[in-house]
Symmetry: C2
Amino acid sequence: MTESHGPGFSLCNNATLRRAGRSLGRFYDDMLAPSGLKGTQFGLLFQIDVSDEPTMGAIAEALIMDLSALGHTLKPLIRDGFVETFTDRDDRRVRRVRLTPEGKVKLEEAIKLWSMAQQRFEAVVGKERAAQLRAALDEIAALDFDTPTAAPSD
Amino acid sequence: MTESHGPGFSLCNNATLRRAGRSLGRFYDDMLAPSGLKGTQFGLLFQIDVSDEPTMGAIAEALIMDLSALGHTLKPLIRDGFVETFTDRDDRRVRRVRLTPEGKVKLEEAIKLWSMAQQRFEAVVGKERAAQLRAALDEIAALDFDTPTAAPSD
DNA sequence: TCCAATTAGTGGCATATGCCACCTTCGCCG
DNA sequence: CGGCGAAGGTGGCATATGCCACTAATTGGA
């Protein structure tokens, strides 16, 4: 098996994960399309909704996402009026985020579509397997290789 | 526990996958950094290398990636002289891709770094589990929900 | 109290991806 | 053999993400 890299075969954990991500992402994007939201945007709105006026940093941490990337991703949602930010009362450095009323409506709408996607996915993969897979992915996401590329002497 | 969405908890298969992808992507990117390549670029060079002067479409299909996205992603690699494209002899519509000598050298270099990343990853996750996970992800990537959003009466 | 180090975000730049519109080439058919 | 629809890419536009440099606000000392 020195080679024979069949269609979409790779030993690279990262490449395999990204590949699956593109594939699944398209599916969720397609299913959410009627709402006008992308899968990532849906996920972001959801995360904001289940949190209590979270700070940018808190969201970024929860989603394991770069803070600036979060800022960028948030922009279209703010522009479209689904989300708004405001300065924290006690610490003026901090900006908190919340859904606007329209954002809540949009999220409700999207959740219906998302549920269908979930159902279809789990109908094929199996509820059990899906849960196991999510658990495995959460575990991987939580791993902390501190990338001592050179020599982490201390 | 109707809620209590702990840090990074989500029932959404897509969100969980993306989240893990960001996390793992950073790890691989960090490990590959000395080569100047990103994880995606490495994966792309690798795919091209193991194929025989593949067509754009073939690569896109193998990576389950949009053809135009592939074209965009290829640009920096072409610009940096690691990859080159050429028109197919028999079908002038088709463009094939191959690594340049510098591209091959760069890939060799990157493979060393990648191997370390793989090793570290599998040292933590386990070789077995990693393989199982890749298999599961490949399976998901291969799924074909044809997105009958409305009603696939037939 | 005032400055240094830290913390939280923002903006710029670059890559990663997708969709859609458009252009070329091919292959097929009358 | 001329035109039409299909196949294969490219370019434009928009979002997704990351890193780095920089700004603003806090916090801890001296």
